[in-house]
Amino acid sequence: MSIGQLDVETLCAWVDALARAETVYAPQARGDRFVYDRLRRAEDLRLDHDVTLLPPKKYFLPPRERLAQFDGTGAARSVLDETPFVLFGVHPYDVAAIAQADAYYLKENPDAHYAARRRGAVIVACDVQAASSSVFAACMGTAVAREGFDLLLTRVDGAYVADARTPAGEALLARAGRLSKADAVALGRREQVWQDALKFLRRHELKCRPADLPGLLTRSYEHAAWEKRSERCHSCASCVLVCPSCFCFDVQDDTGWDLCSGERCRRWDACLLRDFALVADTTSARTAWSAIVTASTARASTCTTASASWPASAADAASPPAPRALPIPSSSTTPCWRTDHAGLRLRRGEGPLPFAAGRPAAQDPCHRPRDAL
């Protein structure tokens, strides 16, 4: 498969052409956060995003998805959405989450609805340019993506190395026109970006190996930490909404105005909600756990600042703490984005900081969207 180099102008022209011809979803600024949304023009693309409010799983497992339609006669037919789309600018840890969902939904008893969406998707990954203040990907081994995407973009020296790994990625890249060759210097720079990612995408340290986590969690079932966490839990399930790898769903029938026709839909569900494991005789397998949640819910109801609506509470849960400076390696001279003191405006520059804490700057009159590429 081919590796080439794109300057920012070529990238913009290519993305503009893709956005016109295809359904492209990509990270964009919304207020002071980033979201994945339908991309209409290149200048809205923010490859310098730190983290998005909702992960890209929403394109493979939509929050509400129609599974079947039925009419008044009782006849039903399955509905598959096979619309092809391009998912652009996916960070390596989100690539890992998609691979995890693939393993879950496609290996044993493949899910036809997920498979249809997945078949039509081309994933363009992008190495992290701006680190979230709460990132811990390097501890989990997901700071750099080695597979699970069709095309990988890495920003080096004001341009992008584009690495096509599948025929679909190759075909997409071919639409960028003639690529300049990614020389040994550019590839060396890219290697440095990966090394930096492994070093710095760890604002939180894991005190064990990722492989030890399942065993550790199994042995910590009754650990006091859970009860302590539950004291702050409002049972809103926002943590599940923003989780890139949570996959549980509920299935419900929505009836039309005629009370006969309608559709069967699945919606995101959360194993942390009290009724999740409820069975017909109104007992739950999680009685002990429910008791804790009931107690914390009672506490939460007295809190006047608790968010009432789902989207708002999802946003609250996703809000990272105020950006702080990342560790600065003294020897590195990798080109990067720097934040000013307010932490809001991004500037291009040569500097020792490999990852800036990126935040949208849409409200900033000085902001030039193309600079975000």
């Binding site: 039925f70 009782g74 039903a76 879950y104 939904y105 044993e108 008893n109 899910d111 199994t218 079932y221 996959f247 549980c248 769903f249 509920d250 299935v251 419900q252 029938d253 009836t255 009370l259 006969c260 309608g262 069967r264 699945r266 569900d269 194993c271 999740f276 494991a277 409820l278 069975v279 017909a280 005789d281 109104t282 007992t283 397998a285 999680r286 756990w289």
Partner: protein, 250 residues
């Protein structure tokens, strides 16, 4: 209410312990266990208690109405393998008799293939006894030991009174070669397992059917997850040693 379901095309190829997802468009879908023995013609039976939206709608259906059925799903009682040639002990509590009835009928149709057969059945009150014709038939058989009890007696009940564990020491089975199939509420399992342990029955000889919210039936929705297991794929019938140390299983 007992439902006799006849597929419009073909027949349902199932084994005792398995369940189907029953659906009514516009109302929803729910897992229901099969209570008839396999191989009894084109239809199968389900016993449905009215406890929620879908089951209430099922109860309101006229005879001959159409339903949506997916399945069969899940694991089976070991009537076709582990239990063969050995003593069989069935322990049913309340509506737990429904899936066990499928296994009991299967065994009784092939009675010569098994050792001693004992059926224990417990309900809260005499009015809650299910499949009373079957119960009478089992009680009348010479090649089956059938014992039942109620938690609270009401006239004209003259039988045993007490929880189901009081019947276990009376089961005429060889603890070393018995295979137990049990289905009932979680509280029943807690005490039945202690009694079986006291009898000397190993965990590997006990099979329990667990009730969980098996929403999709194919191990995707997460509702019936018990740690790393899915009740819809790895269950609902579990060999007890596989879940004995698992939190939230029983």
């Amino acid at each position: 209410m007992l439902f006799e379901v006849r597929p419009e095309v073909g027949r349902l190829d199932y084994m005792p312990g398995q369940f189907v997802e029953v659906s009514l468009p516009g109302v929803g879908e729910a897992p229901i266990s099969i209570c008839s023995a396999p191989g009894r013609g084109e239809s199968f039976q389900m016993l449905v208690r009215k406890t929620g939206r879908l089951t209430a709608a099922l109860h309101a259906l006229p005879e001959g109405a159409r339903l949506g059925v997916r399945g069969p799903y899940g694991t089976r009682f070991p009537v076709g393998d582990d239990m063969k040639g050995r003593d069989a002990l069935f322990v049913a509590g309340g509506i737990g008799l429904a899936p066990l009835r499928s296994a009991i009928l299967y065994v009784l149709e092939r009675r010569a293939d098994y050792g001693r057969v004992t059926i224990l059945y417990g309900t809260k009150s005499p009015a809650e006894r299910l499949f009373t014709r079957d119960l009478a038939a089992w009680a009348a058989r010479n090649d089956v030991q059938f014992l039942e009890t109620v938690d609270r007696a009401e006239p004209p009940w003259t039988g045993n009174v007490g929880v189901i564990t009081t019947l276990i020491p009376r089961a005429r089975v060889d603890p070393a070669r018995v295979v137990v199939a049990a289905c009932g509420p979680p509280i029943m399992y807690k005490f039945v397992l202690v009694s079986l342990h006291a009898l000397g029955v190993a965990h590997t000889q006990i099979f329990v059917s667990l009730e969980r919210r098996m929403k999709c039936g194919v191990g995707k929705c997460g509702h019936c997850q018990i740690n790393g297991l899915y009740a819809c794929l790895d269950g609902p019938v579990f060999r007890y040693d596989r879940i004995a140390d698992m939190q939230e299983a029983i």
